[in-house]
């Protein structure tokens, strides 16, 4: 009964805190919708190739144009092209003259430029082969996921990552920071002179945060489904169980971290030192594939990266919890270690 009242009051106060509700509910949805729409699948060719012809151009230009697919071609004269290049807007530029072809790739836009350049190379090989009377065969590519139930699109990729970051922020800020503030401002002391057992207060807070994270995850999944047609490929019970596990682990982290500083200022610094690198480097917004292997290994030993990986596996690829047992066990181990640190170091004043 006492616990229930405490829980209800926590929810009431939470809903009145505009900042907290914005960052947990609205902000991740805005990110998801924004990026989801921008990078949805089949959003048209993304790379533009600037094409400059000098003199009459190259003899094979017509054939090359025909062979070039999946790239937007912009024909410019050399003055305009030079102007565009100087402004830094051109990723790749193809120059053709009677002597032959030349490709320039912008060193600041390597990803797009390289892609465009490779398409030109490939088209050129096809043209040359055709000139020799050959019909080159293209090997078909099919993109699949290990579980075979891939949720395609950047929005789908992003969703589990955003959920992971959100749990981390509920833990570090919604629990850790709040308790540092309670300690600093004397709320714990005020409670200390009442007969309320303090564990009831903390338990009320913990249960409220668990329900916040479930509500928030449901909300995100619903919006993703309705607006971007992203579906949970795994089972909902397993998905929400994973959410609960993450919330518990990251709350323990927040509690543990809150024991290392007495002041709010100290805690903001400390929590951001933990939060920002984890958020940026845990494969939330982009995959870690491109990073050197040893860095990937280090990151996968930290709690957020394996958690996001597991969540992504369940949600996007229909995996089961036990397929990600190692990663989830690591996350829970972090949670457990933090929990013991918190229990050992926690002080009410």
């Amino acid at each position: 009964m006492l616990l229930w009242r405490q829980f209800v009051m926590e929810w009431k106060l939470y809903l009145r805190d505009r900042g907290a509700t914005f960052w947990t509910f609205a902000f991740p949805v805005i990110l998801l919708l924004g990026f989801g729409f921008m990078f949805r699948e089949g959003a048209g060719p993304m790379t533009t190739l600037v094409w400059v012809t000098e003199g009459g151009g190259h003899a094979e230009d017509a054939a090359l144009t025909k062979a070039l697919t999946h790239v937007k071609i912009l024909k410019l004269d050399s003055v305009e092209a030079q102007h565009r290049w100087a402004k830094g807007e051109t990723a790749a530029q193809l120059e053709s003259s009677a002597q032959g072809h030349r490709l320039r790739v912008n060193s600041y836009l390597m990803a797009q430029g390289q892609t465009a350049a490779q398409m030109v190379q490939q088209a050129n090989l096809v043209v040359q082969a055709q000139a020799k009377g050959l019909q080159p065969e293209v090997i078909p590519i099919s993109v699949e996921s290990p579980g075979g139930r891939r949720n395609a699109g950047y929005g789908a990729f992003l969703l589990p990552g955003l959920l992971g970051v959100n749990l981390l922020s509920i833990g570090l800020f919604g629990v850790g920071m709040v308790n540092v503030a309670y300690r600093e401002k004397g709320k714990f002391r005020r409670l200390g002179v009442t007969p309320l057992p303090k564990w009831i207060f903390l338990l009320g807070q913990i249960l409220q945060r668990l329900t916040v994270s479930l509500a928030q995850a449901s909300f995100m999944v619903l919006v993703a489904r309705l607006a971007l047609n992203i579906r949970n490929q795994g089972s909902y019970p397993e998905f929400f169980l994973a959410i609960l596990m993450g919330t518990a682990a990251f709350m323990a982290m927040g509690f543990a971290l809150s024991t290392f500083t007495k002041t709010l200022e100290g805690y903001s610094a400390l929590s951001n030192v933990v939060f920002l690198p984890l958020m940026i480097l845990s494969g939330v917004y982009f995959t870690l594939d491109a990073a050197p292997l040893w860095i990937q290994k280090v990151l996968l030993a930290l709690p957020l990266a394996p958690y996001v990986k597991a969540l992504r596996g369940i949600f996007n690829d229909g995996a089961h919890l036990w397929n990600h047992a190692a990663g989830l066990a690591l996350v829970m181990a972090w949670g457990l270690v933090c929990f013991f640190i918190a229990v050992k170091r926690f002080r009410w004043n």
Partner: protein, 306 residues
């Protein structure tokens, strides 16, 4: 209930750098308003917080309402009301909700509505506590301290930082607590407040209780019931020559001299004669009854609000 609401024996608390409480003994009778008076850092808050069970003492025995603090803390906490020196609510909570929430922690509780009327916060009952003025927040803190109909109430500097009018209204609330038969223990550094509210007082400095008694007892104990003040234009001059001449101790404070005297009727003429002889350029002379402020000065050599 008759007898003692609080008995404290040999309380000590050492912080890394200061001995905050240095052997405090205290007895408070049921139904009285007891004041702890002392300057900043005297150890008043530390003493109260030890008694309230918030701070662990290094030594000492504490009996509250007949219960032992060490073994019957929960029983004690449900019977005492506490207002802490620092305010402690800061979420977006309304006075009514706060009273209902905190009331829920106790087996015995009073209705929020009644308490709001008591402290005149009906108008603000449903406003967020962050929008209340300083005086209103203090009144809410008092209402919270009364939420469990406590037998013993602790108020730590209930009026510090308030304007005179807000202070008076808090005094009324404290007086009504006494009328309802509650025991009140409060701290303050205002003399007038101590004189106006307290049945008995303890004067505290450097973690020790210097003296205890009713306000009039304390003044009488000092044995120097009157104070003669000589006012100067600008800073008060050195008094060595005057003291040599008159044999009276002078306390120089800012623009005046203060002389504590037992028998002003005979001393006054000699003060005037000596002043004349030493050519003391005073502007005005003034005589008054000694106050608690003088008691404090006499006991510690310092003024209360230095």
């Amino acid at each position: 209930m008759t007898g003692y609401a609080l008995k404290v024996r040999g309380l000590r608390k050492q912080y890394p750098k200061v001995l905050a409480v240095d052997g405090v003994d205290m007895e408070v009778r049921c139904g009285e308003v007891f004041g702890l008076l002392g300057p900043n850092g005297a150890g008043k808050t530390t003493t109260l917080e030890i008694i309230e069970g918030l701070t662990e003492p290094d030594a000492g025995e504490i009996e509250i309402l007949g219960f032992d603090l060490r073994t019957q803390g929960r029983e004690i906490r449900s019977r005492i009301g506490v207002q802490l020196q620092s305010t402690s609510l800061f979420n977006k909570i309304t006075p009514r909700e706060a009273l209902e929430l905190y009331g829920g922690y106790y087996p015995k509780r009073r209705s929020a509505q009644e308490l709001l009327e008591r402290v005149q916060l009906i108008d603000k009952a449903d406003a967020y506590h962050t929008t209340l003025s300083g005086g209103q927040q203090q009144r809410l803190a008092l209402a919270l301290a009364l939420v469990n109909d406590p037998e013993l109430v602790f108020l730590d500097e209930p009026t510090t930082g308030l304007d005179p009018q807000a202070r008076r209204s808090l005094w009324d609330i404290v007086r009504s607590m006494k009328q309802e038969g509650r025991t009140v223990i409060l701290t303050t550094h205002y003399m007038d407040e101590a004189e106006a509210l307290c049945d008995r007082l303890a004067i505290m400095d450097h973690g020790r209780i210097l003296t205890t008694g009713t306000p009039s007892e304390l003044i009488a104990q000092m044995g120097l019931p009157s104070v003669v003040e000589l006012f100067f234009e600008g800073a008060a001059p050195d008094a060595a020559a005057f003291t040599a001449q008159s044999g009276l101790a002078v306390d120089r404070r800012g623009d005046r001299w203060e002389l504590a005297v037992t028998d002003p009727k005979t001393t006054l003429p000699s003060i005037l004669d000596s002043a004349e002889a030493c050519r003391v350029p005073f502007e005005q002379i003034h005589m008054r009854r000694a106050t608690l402020e003088d008691v404090f000065l006499h006991r510690t050599g310092r003024s209360l609000r230095e």
